[in-house]
């Protein structure tokens, strides 16, 4: 099977190179035949990479320990769904997985555009396959997952099959972790599609409405998946790493946030181009930046230039990524400058207090956040290069600088949608903002009286109330109009209102998700924790909770040995939960890890860790965290995903416009003889 995988890689490389060249030539010569050939080669690329992935996955599932990668990341006793996840557990497999997802996106793009956007497609295919070729080269020559184990003996070098593998990293043996990398990679990889369309639009000078519409849709999907992937990663950190938090501003975490932030800026500023024909250069720049940051994030995770708990082992892959990043930047920026004349704004701004200005401020704050995270993440490398001093830039820096920016963004999340296009009058401002401000002020006073005195937490909750009232007010105003005009009940009115304009109201739902996320973040200011040594009968108290240790049990299964603490939790004297934190020792990898016990509620999570055994007293070291409002982070993420899905559903008016556009395109193609 190693040979099958290797053949798949070589064939994919050949298809990729052919598709890249044929796409470019087909576009230059405007040849439909050569373009079709390039598209078929992109499908061939997908097929061959799929073959390679199937080969590797087959070897993992059948415990073929001739293969070095399988021996490194899997073992016989690993559960099946963790074996599936072993495909992306290591550097080589995850790069192959990245390439496979790129091939899937490419195939989808080719299939979706088989009878439209024919002038763009040659260059779209060229860019997609150019990226695919780079990754296939990397997989084949630098990080090949199809190396066989061998042993040197008197008879010479001979193939060798290990009796068992090292097993999956224990930190990765957690259910949400199975889908976290696929989501994240789908997000990273997906950003190549809007980039490809943007480059094709620049090359062909087709910079009208079409490319921005395509690019916006193709950005929303990876943007949603990247956001979900980031939150799943936070959930993993919370449930597995055992320190009671979900975000540590780790360099790899930051690397995933960067393209998401710039993608968010693009999804907002694109509305200005669609409505007013403005900010065209800005939007192209954001698409380039988002793709650049996606590749940069991939580079950061794998190059070893920054230290991280999440990073793959150090490798020599860095210089290749650096060259690729330089090529992307040079190519795209040069093209942008050459096409500046075609990207002139069709209108001017009318007022500082307008939705356009609101989006501009929103964009600038998002980009300031991008710069802050980028600068802070890379500063240790820069410091070493400039002053030969090793420094660390961690959570205290990011919390201090990023949180105020985040609060400004939260404010704009509520205020922005209520500003009118072109100019908002003072009467409009009064009408739209009086109620939300009043409710937020009352809420703020109540919070202060209830003991919320931490500045950032108070401001977060105050702004969350303001934004929530702004957004819910929009739903209410629209629904009320429908209830009067169409005689619908409230729920019917909200449903029909949303379906009539899914982009707008789906966007509002996304904003509600963001508000819930911020509410969850605010809870971090009220964390409490305690630690103690416990044996059977011992008691630990924290806030309103009392934890009693009912004993320790030990056991094992084929995968790991465990020690489990049996903890009974009561709250204000009443039964609350039975919690069983564990300490595990994974046999195959010889690594310990903790299994955190979490009892979540909407108000707060009780989080119990068996941190170890005290060598002097032989008692269990139990650490307890009370984490307020964490549940709202996961709920907010779910609402964010729902809202994005809703925004992608074509509304009735959009469907009619799409039908008209398709009829137009068919007429044009019939005229051109395509």
């Amino acid at each position: 099977m190693n040979q099958v995988g290797t053949v798949g890689l070589i064939a994919a490389l050949a298809f990729g190179v052919f598709a890249l060249v044929a796409g470019a030539v087909g576009g230059l010569l405007r040849s439909p035949r050569i373009t079709r050939s390039a598209e078929r080669s992109a499908l061939g690329f997908f097929a061959m990479i799929t073959l390679a992935v199937v080969a590797l996955e087959y070897m993992i599932l059948t415990n073929d320990f001739h293969n070095a990668y399988v021996a490194e990341h899997s073992n016989r006793d690993l559960l099946t769904y963790y074996k599936v996840a072993a495909l992306w557990a290591g550097q080589e497999g995850s790069l192959l997985f990245w390439t496979w997802l790129l091939s899937i996106y490419s195939a989808l793009v080719v299939w979706q555009n088989r009878s439209k956007n024919r002038q763009l497609m040659p260059y779209v295919v060229a860019v997609l396959m150019g990226t695919g070729t780079f990754f296939s080269l990397l997989v084949f020559f630098v990080a090949n997952p199809f190396h066989e184990l061998s042993v040197v003996s008197i008879a010479g070098t001979q193939p060798y099959a290990a009796p068992d593998g090292n097993g999956l990293n224990p930190l990765l043996q957690y259910h949400p972790m199975v889908i976290h990398p696929p989501m994240l990679y789908l997000g990273y990889v997906g950003m190549v599609v809007p980039f490809a369309f943007a480059m094709a639009a620049l090359i062909t000078r087709q910079l009208g409405d079409n490319w921005i519409r395509i690019t916006r849709r193709w950005t929303m999907v990876p943007w949603m998946l990247l956001g979900c992937g980031i939150l799943l990663g936070g959930n993993w950190a919370y449930a597995v790493l055992g320190w009671g938090g979900y975000w540590a501003w780790d360099p790899v975490e930051n690397a995933s946030l960067l393209p998401w932030l710039s993608g968010t800026a693009f999804l907002h500023s694109v509305m200005i181009q669609e409505k007013r024909g403005m900010l065209k250069v800005w939007n192209v720049s954001l698409v380039i930046l988002t793709f650049f940051l996606s590749i940069f994030g991939t580079f950061l995770t794998r190059s070893g230039i920054v230290s991280s708990v999440h990073a793959f082992a150090q490798s020599n892959i860095g210089p290749f990524f650096a060259v690729f990043l330089a090529i992307i930047l040079f190519f795209s920026v040069t093209l942008l400058f050459l096409r500046l004349d075609h990207l002139k704004s069709e209108n001017k701004l009318d007022s500082m207090v307008s939705r356009e200005s609101g989006f501009l401020f929103n964009n600038w704050i998002l980009l300031a956040l991008v710069f802050t995270v980028f600068w802070g993440t890379l500063f240790p490398v820069i410091s070493k290069a400039v002053q030969n001093v090793t420094v660390t830039v961690g959570a205290p820096f990011f919390n201090k600088v990023a949180i105020p920016m985040g609060l400004l963004l939260l404010l704009l999340t509520g205020a922005g949608p209520l500003l009118a296009w072109r100019k908002t009058s003072f009467q409009s401002l009064k009408a739209n903002f009086t109620l939300p401000l009043a409710v937020a002020l009352v809420g703020g006073i109540v919070l202060f009286a209830a003991g919320v005195r931490q500045l950032y937490a108070w401001m977060t909750l105050f702004l969350s109330i303001f934004v929530a009232v702004c957004i819910l007010g929009e739903f209410w105003k629209g629904a009320r109009t429908r209830m009067r005009a169409a005689k619908e009940n409230f729920l019917e009115a909200v449903y029909n209102l949303t379906m009539r304009n899914t982009r707008r109201y789906g966007g509002y739902i996304v904003h509600i998700g963001i508000v819930l996320l911020f509410v969850g973040f605010a809870g971090q200011a009220f964390k409490a924790d305690t630690k103690g040594l416990m044996q059977e009968g011992d008691i630990l108290t924290i806030k309103d909770y009392m934890l009693r240790c009912d004993g320790l049990v030990s056991g094992d299964n084929p995968n790991y040995e465990y020690t489990r603490a049996l903890i009974t939790v009561t709250k204000k004297g009443e039964a609350f939960a039975e919690m069983h934190p564990e300490k595990r020792f994974y046999k195959a990898s010889q690594q310990p890890t903790s299994y955190v016990a979490i009892h979540p509620t909407l108000a707060e999570d009780v989080y119990v860790v068996l941190a170890g055994m005290d060598s002097e007293t032989n008692k269990a070291i139990i650490q307890v965290f009370i984490n307020p409002l964490v549940m709202w982070v996961w709920i907010g993420g779910f609402v964010f995903m729902l809202g994005t899905l809703m925004a992608m559903v074509p509304s009735r008016v959009e469907r009619e416009m799409a039908d008209m556009r398709q009829a137009q395109e068919l007429a044009v193609r019939a005229g051109e003889g395509f």
């Binding site: 001017k348 710069f371 660390t392 830039v393 500003l419 409009s428 937490a457 009539r500």
Partner: protein, 202 residues
């Protein structure tokens, strides 16, 4: 709609009001008189100046002060120091059981706290003992100052540039939006759809 402005549905959906001429409605709006424009402009500039100054001051204060604690505790210090064992995690988050490096650092911190030293002094002593990289954020001096200053300068400068660019780009306002209007009035959308429907059936 109030304010003496009349906009016909036909003018909104006419071809001239779509591609290439976005947002420019054709019929029936009044031009504001020039009297008092300079005075209004001056008061707007003054308002913007004080608003910007207030925002800048609030932002700078929040960055400078944020949620500072004054009394050092093992936990507050542990969040500002990296564990030396190589786990790449803050001291309080070191995942290693019975970590000897963590225990040694915590013993040193306890001694410093017991001596009544302030947080800044303790962090300085720790950095001298273990090296600058043990701090989770570099001290704000020398080249390290850039990590603190550049993001704030970038944000505030950028916001200032946006304000200047917006003011330079904008037209004199040619129409006033109706009170309470957010540009996507459901009534208006329904009226447009009905007219589109009648155009298709016609």
């Amino acid at each position: 709609m109030s304010g003496g402005r009349k906009i016909s549905v036909a003018s909104i959906i006419s071809p001239a009001s779509t591609a290439g001429h976005r947002g420019q409605l054709r019929s029936g709006f009044t031009v504001r008189p020039a009297v008092g424009r300079a005075a209004r402009h001056s008061s707007v500039v003054t308002r913007h100046f004080w608003l910007s100054s207030l925002l800048i001051s609030l932002f700078a204060a929040s960055v400078a002060f944020g949620d500072n604690r004054t009394k050092p505790t093992l936990e507050s210090l542990g969040n500002q120091l990296m564990c030396k064992c190589g786990c790449v995690a803050p001291l309080n988050q070191c995942p290693h059981f019975d970590c000897a490096e963590k225990a040694e650092m915590q013993a040193f911190l306890k001694k410093e706290i017991a001596e009544g030293k302030g947080e800044a002094v303790i962090l300085q002593d720790v950095a001298q003992r273990y090296g600058l990289q043990v701090l989770t954020a570099p001290p704000a001096r020398g080249f390290n100052l850039t990590v603190w200053v550049l993001p704030s300068i970038g944000l505030l400068t950028g916001l200032g540039i946006v304000v200047v660019v917006v003011r330079r780009w904008r037209h004199k306002p040619a129409l006033d939006t109706a009170p309470g209007s957010t540009g996507d009035d459901p009534k208006l959308i329904r009226a447009v759809e009905e007219e589109m429907k009648s155009m298709r059936m016609g």
